[in-house]
């Protein structure tokens, strides 16, 4: 269902990201890169449920926030080593995903949007209500950072967090591209295309749905943990609508049809949003127009642009197929 990824392009993309810190150690660029990488992880893993699964899952960012909060609370308040951050984040996120998946099993389409969104709101209410643990609406602060001996991941402009996030992104992309070409992936897509038909061919609906959610939640959980340790903070805004929309725009603008779309969306959008930061609220106007234009003229998102261009070029070269009499 998907073109073979061009291995050279992948290699080049990661090579640039691996080398970037060696040639540039500006802390602003480093921060933006880390954030873009994190959004890329969120987008491409969200694609598993939203794109491949066709399930309107609006809880993905909540999984991320749950991962961040769990890591923050357990390492800060309950004294777990920050090195447990990743497993804690992943576990919390996967558990959350299974919880939200249970009511979603029986739902379809837009109902899923509401239930998954309501799940995020429910988490938010709990975070707000458990002020002692979570810091309430002001947020959780002073989350312990990652350190190895005397080396802090914050040293050298956060180089530790940079490479850790990059590694997670590489794993995410690898996992998603494996997924898209595996039996698991086919079954997920089959359920999206035609649920009744898939069931009639022996695809186990509930099991696959649950697995899809759990699988997709590993990555936001992991990156949520690293996020919490990197910014040393978690805030209720992470459950908020603006944040959700931001990530969703990245995913949809990048394109849900491919492994690379969300990654491209995350990078382009993070950079764009930074460049426009001085514009204040005006920035949102430009972004909104941009989203609509891209959806209008590049229905497959940024990821679809290369093939669209290629098509145009080919069409320009070849004359239109003439009417042929048989």
């Amino acid at each position: 269902m998907e073109k073979k990824l061009r291995p050279t392009a992948i290699a080049a993309f990661f090579a640039i990201l691996v080398v970037l810190p060696l040639v540039n150690d500006d802390s602003y660029i480093r921060h933006i890169s880390i954030i873009a990488i994190m959004y890329a992880v969120l987008g491409s893993s969200w694609n598993i449920t939203l794109g491949y699964g066709g399930v309107f899952n609006f809880a993905h960012m909540a999984f991320f926030a749950v991962g961040a909060y769990a890591t923050g609370i357990l390492t800060k308040t309950f004294g777990f080593s920050p090195w447990f951050g990743l497993p804690i984040g992943i576990t919390a996120s996967v558990v959350a995903s299974v919880l939200v998946c249970l009511p979603v099993l029986r739902l379809k389409g837009v109902y899923v949007i509401l239930v998954t969104f309501a799940f995020g709101q429910l988490c938010l209410q709990i975070v707000l209500n458990q002020r002692e643990l979570t810091g309430g609406n002001f947020g959780l602060v002073s989350i312990p950072p990652l350190e190895i001996g005397t080396f802090s991941f914050r040293d050298y402009q956060n180089i530790g967090y940079y490479y850790l996030s990059l590694a997670i992104l590489a794993l995410t992309v690898a996992a998603v591209s494996w997924f898209s070409r595996s039996r698991f992936g086919w079954r997920v897509v089959a359920l999206r295309d035609n649920e009744a038909y898939a069931v009639s061919r022996g695809v186990p609906l509930s099991r696959i749905r649950l697995l899809t959610f759990a699988f997709s939640a590993i990555f936001p959980g992991a990156i949520g943990a690293v996020y919490a340790q990197y910014v040393r903070s978690a805030s209720p805004d992470m459950f908020g609508f603006s944040f959700l929309t931001l990530a969703l725009s990245m995913l949809l603008l990048g394109g849900t049809g491919s492994v690379w779309g969300p990654v491209a969306g995350a990078f382009v959008f993070t950079i764009l949003s930074e460049v426009m930061a001085p514009l204040g609220p005006g920035r949102y106007l430009i972004t909104a127009v941009l989203i609509v234009l891209i959806l209008r003229f590049f229905p497959k998102g940024l990821a679809g642009i290369p093939s669209l261009v290629a098509q145009q070029v080919r069409a320009a070269r070849k004359p239109k197929p003439a009417a042929e009499a048989a």
Partner: protein, 239 residues
């Protein structure tokens, strides 16, 4: 030569960038009833979708009763009386039979005639009268086909296009339907009927076109009816 009802010239159309119609041309004189046959997926439905304004023509012209209707909005084409009953009788599933029929008369002219038209449809398909309050979703395939044709009649057609009206109908209903269509033709409505089943066309059509690979491939005609054998020949000769 008789005045033309429909004149299709060098029509090209398709989906996305994939062409389906490859410059198809044909003309239908007033009073003619034409049958269309041809292999699956060779563009019969696409042709009608283009005629009725659902699909944009890439090039070519469609002239209906002397006026150019190429790429006019569907509603305008319906108002002129070119009415297309689509394949697969999808209807408005959550509206009742009566509501479906009423909406068939949405255009201005037919709206005024609505009551009389509905009575006419019920006379033609008495079964629908019994089920006027039922949601179309729960009708059986045959009943839905009747509603679909009924909706077409409600629009007071000059030319009624039926796309595979017998699809999935029981043999008995097929016969009933054939009688009903004959009745419609007798009442002065001109028809184009697409069918896989040559027998169905035999008594209804005055001329049969074989559409294949997006063009009219062959045609046969005969005054007042066609020989079964010739149709079948035509069919098998090119399958």
């Amino acid at each position: 030569m008789a005045e033309l009802a429909l004149d299709v010239r060098a029509l090209n159309a398709g989906y996305g960038r994939v062409p389906v119609l490859h410059g198809i041309s044909f003309a239908i004189a007033k009073g003619e009833n034409v049958g269309l046959i041809g292999p699956n997926g060779h563009g019969k439905s696409t042709l009608f979708r283009t005629l009725s304004g659902l699909l944009r023509a890439w090039s070519g012209t469609v002239t209906f009763l002397g006026e150019d209707i190429t790429n006019r909005p569907a509603a305008e084409i319906v108002e002129r009386g070119l009415i297309h009953v689509p394949q697969g009788n999808t209807l408005f599933p959550d509206l009742t039979v009566q509501e479906n029929l009423s909406l068939g008369a949405f255009a201005k002219g037919p709206r005024a005639e609505r009551r009389r038209s509905i009575e006419r449809v019920f006379a033609l398909f008495p079964r629908l009268a019994e089920r006027r309050g039922q949601r179309c979703r729960t009708l059986s395939g045959g009943e839905r086909q009747m509603v679909a044709i009924g909706c077409g009649l409600m629009g007071l057609p000059n030319l009624l296009i039926l796309d595979e009206p017998t699809l999935g109908l029981s043999p008995k209903l097929k016969t009933d339907l054939r009688d009903a269509v004959a009745e419609i033709i007798r009442s002065g409505v001109q028809t184009i009927i697409v069918e896989q089943d040559p027998e169905f066309l035999q008594t209804l059509a005055t001329r049969i076109l074989l559409v294949s690979e997006g063009v009219v491939h062959t045609e046969i005609s005969g005054a007042g009816g066609l020989e079964h054998k010739r149709i079948v020949e035509m069919y098998f000769g090119h399958a």
